[in-house]
Amino acid sequence: MEEKKLMKGNEAFAEAAIRGGCHLYFGYPITPQNEIPEYMSRELSKHGGSFVQAESELAAVNMAYGGALTGHNVFLSSSSPGIALMQEGISFMCSAEIPVVMLNISRGGPGVGGIQPGQADYRQATKGGGNGDYHVPVFAPASVQESVDLIYDAIPIAERYRNPVMILADGMLGQMMEPVTLPEHRAVRSEAELLAEKPWALNGHGDKRERMVIQSLHLKPEELEAHNMHLEEKYQSMRKELPKYQIKNCKDAEIVFVAFGTMSRIVNEAIDQLKTEGITAGLIRPITLWPFPEAAFDEIDPSTKVVISTELAIGQMMEDVKSAVAGRFPVELIYRTGGMVPTPMEVARRAKQILEAIR
């Protein structure tokens, strides 16, 4: 294991992608993730890779598709409105089954909004704004170290399912520095190894096999339905295999918070503060936002008084929380929006109010 390094989130994310084997990066500047393309522009050529500053996010997502359909690993990053511009491309890659790892360092919206951290891209990430029946697994790290690990791990996950995978972090994670242990560089695969592992990848038929096609259009609805059913099977596997969450003393908590990413760290401290006031509170931290870790909610003690979705968004995750809770507990919301971030004390105070209203 390497020694710890103090790194700015965005730079650590870029380095994690490189070590994970993404030697192709296509991106367009947008705050608060500019350190990523900047880092890639300096570092990728050292690994025999390629950095292209795309003319737009629309171009970037399509370059990513092009790069990845050759079997090479591609990393893509942007921030909220830039991700909105990629929706057609994301839906396309799902339909064509092309694995790409995408990072959204999200900010406040809607529209241009602001550049301070937000989580209001929850719906954009988990429900998708592309057309049609598709899903993208979404991971939500809470620290620089976890981001690094999730990005690194997302690469083989995307490959395994032949599907894009998204990491949803926010501007705060991108801009802060924490000590991180960087993972080892994955072994570089030769072109032949790559093609052996990814027999679907295009590389020219070399007059040795039938020509291959990567497609998204299926004019015959029978064929499109069959293809969609095939995709749905993959999504079902993901639903079984991917859900990931962390639980903190839910056993005898009056309040169970649900929070992801940066917000979960604030909630963690709020829980400590509540404890000093004699209120026991627990936390469910979804690490996958899609598939949403519904099983976590079975671990809530029946004596719990309220489940509180705690978000930098106006109740976006709350919809999934309600669905998972399925009427077993009242579900309440604590949120800030537009780039405002509550302090732990603020969360604790509002939680107390909610609890008192229920008691």
Partner: protein, 248 residues
């Protein structure tokens, strides 16, 4: 007995879904003939965006991928950066390249991406049923301009070769037509040069191919050839706009 003409093995032995007399078929064949003659068939990846030719991957005997409407140049850029030793081309219609994909083609040229674009200018949206394209001629009828294109409303038709030729990275730009045997032969030469430019790593190359769309023009295939000659060529002059010394 000598074989003077035979269908290239670059084309798969299937029947295309193109309308009778549509020159997409000729253009396809020329590209494949060039790749066969250059020995590149096995080392090529083609990109077919949405448009009548989206199914060209069923016809062309090379690895191919579809792309979203207009985005083929971005996709090709991605492929080419991933595979620096392969040959890559896009095959795009005029709605695709000149309208929704104008930004992408300009920036592929701007970066001097090392791929070749075959640009089929048939002055109309084929696949969607004959709507006006940026290349539709003044007075030409379309389903979104039933009285013919008017300059006041839609501007003058866009001349893509002239526009791209102003970009340094577009080192090869030529406009050809498929209306006569002589022009078909010239078209093939241009396509060949464009791929040579790519092989030599000189920059981005584009061949604009004036083509027919008998169905949406409402003309017979033979009359379409005449219409192309009499109407398109005067506005879209044939010829080379840029060619590197090395290839001349």
């Amino acid at each position: 007995m000598k074989t003077v003409f035979e269908y290239t093995r670059g084309m798969r032995p299937v029947t295309t879904t193109y309308c009778p007399g549509c020159t997409h078929g000729i253009a396809h064949r020329l590209v494949m003939e060039v790749l066969v003659e250059k020995g590149l068939l096995g080392d090529t990846i083609g990109v077919s965006p949405i448009g009548c030719s989206i199914l060209s991957h069923d016809y062309m005997n090379v690895d191919m991928c579809e792309s979203a409407h207009g985005r083929a140049p971005a996709v090709a850029s991605g492929i080419r950066r991933a595979l620096p030793n392969k040959t890559v081309f896009t095959y795009q219609g005029d709605g695709d390249l000149a309208s929704i994909g104008a930004g992408e083609i300009i920036h592929a040229a701007h970066r001097g991406e090392l791929f070749t674009t075959i640009f089929i200018n048939n002055a109309i949206y084929g696949m969607t049923g004959g709507q006006m394209a940026p290349t539709t001629l003044i007075g030409q009828k379309s389903t979104t301009g039933v009285d013919g294109r008017k300059k006041e409303i839609s501007g003058m038709p866009l001349r893509i070769s002239e526009l791209l030729a102003t970009i340094d990275g577009a080192v090869f730009v030529e406009r050809v037509a498929l209306n006569t045997p002589a022009n078909v032969r010239k078209a093939k030469k241009a396509i060949e040069k464009a791929f040579t430019v790519q092989q030599m790593g000189l920059g981005f190359g584009l061949v604009e191919v004036l083509s027919t769309c008998p169905t949406n023009w409402g003309l017979s295939p033979v009359d379409s050839m005449t219409w192309l000659e009499e109407n398109m060529i005067p506005y879209y002059p044939l010829g080379n706009f840029r060619c590197p010394e090395e290839v001349k």
